[in-house]
Symmetry: C2
Subunit: 122 residues, 2 copies
């Protein structure tokens, strides 16, 4: 079996100070995440977004290059996104579109990149 | 807006030495991941699994507590999973079921836990 050490990059993105009016509903949240997926060059296979009551969204977009997910806490202006990419795409484009779309602050956004296949344990 | 620092735990799981016969197809892979989701106490909202040609699987399960995803490289005996949980569930149960189901070795499995809302940057 082929040995391999790099199975793609997993971007974890904490988005703060998001506009609650945007991230509270599936409509605008899904539109922004799908636009992020398309613009970064991903090939969308399927997507599913869930509306929590009264507010809040969970969504996952399965892409040929792996996935993009988002979970929102409008009451805290917070969104947790991740992008797992193992193909040709530009994650930074997707990150920028989500940050701008959700009106999150660049200064308080945190991005952590983890190379899959090289986890160093907890 | 309420300040909050902990939006749940994000488990990244690198599974090595998986049985290629299991992780090459949607059928057994999906069965194992859905069983992992149910047994760990998650509430499944929807799931989508994609069969790559000739082999390989990408799947995402949206759960009320956030999500579980898996991407497989049968040619390398490798599966990259993640579990994002922000509710009452037992991620270790899901991890054990996936490891046993995929026949991954416990000794070479790596699990990294990241608290969302507390990313320390790249």
């Amino acid at each position: 079996m082929k040995k391999r050490a790099d199975f793609g990059k997993h971007y974890l993105i904490d988005l703060r100070d998001c506009d609650p009016e945007i991230i509270k509903s599936v409509g605008p949240t899904r539109e922004i995440v799908l636009r992020a997926a398309k613009e970064c060059g991903a090939t969308i296979l399927d997507d599913y977004f869930h509306q929590f009551q009264p507010i809040g969204v969970s969504g996952a977009v399965l892409i040929a290059e792996s996935h993009i997910s988002v979970h929102t806490w409008p009451e805290n202006g917070f969104a947790a996104a991740d992008i797992f990419t193992c193909g040709e795409m530009k994650p930074q484009v997707a990150i920028d579109i989500m940050r701008e779309g959700f009106r999150a602050k660049e200064t308080t956004m945190k991005v952590k990149v983890v190379v899959r296949g090289q986890l160093d344990g907890d």
